[in-house]
Symmetry: C2
Subunit: 106 residues, 2 copies
């Protein structure tokens, strides 16, 4: 099992709407995440918009590829893209840069 | 179970040593973390020193208080303090500011 942590930056003027959208993620999107191996997946938001993602998966590259091929994900990412800073035209799921795990205690 | 995410900043000139220390955390420190309720605890490091902590615990306030009372933790935190930026005299465990969870998928 891989533990993955990535960072994104939500625009400071869209934080409330970002929270609201993530309190009501489409059930079809949740099903696609589970089906493609995204487990124990959380998003944490700092007040300035820094977003931390954490998930556990058998194979993050495969989990990303699985979601990239899901039609519902294309619709979701297109709607989410305007919430983020500095994506340089990429969708947010393409801009996730995993950090390096330096410590783990089960 | 609470999922907790916090951020700290490691000094850019101490990253290698920080990694080395966390690849060899004292067994007594690991035992104290487990005994005080720090579970599935990971630290992730970005190349610029941004450090993300993630853990699961029944009660984070109790887990923090438990470690604050552990003698081994005082010794560990005193050794770790010089690795961090902007702690304003606090030990790193006192400077952990949890982010807000905005999404979770089991």
């Amino acid at each position: 099992m891989q533990r993955v942590c990535f960072l994104l930056k939500v625009r400071a003027d869209r934080l409330d709407e970002y929270r609201e959208r993530h309190a009501a993620v489409w059930p079809e999107m949740l099903d696609a995440l589970s089906a493609t191996g995204w487990h124990n997946y959380s998003l944490f938001l700092r007040e300035d918009g820094l977003l931390v993602g954490y998930l556990e998966t058998e194979d993050f590259a495969a989990a990303q590829a699985g979601m990239a091929a899901a039609e519902v994900n294309s619709r979701w990412q297109t709607e989410m893209a305007p919430f983020f800073e500095s994506l340089d035209g990429a969708n947010p799921d393409e801009a996730m840069k995993p950090l390096t795990e330096v410590f783990h205690l089960a």
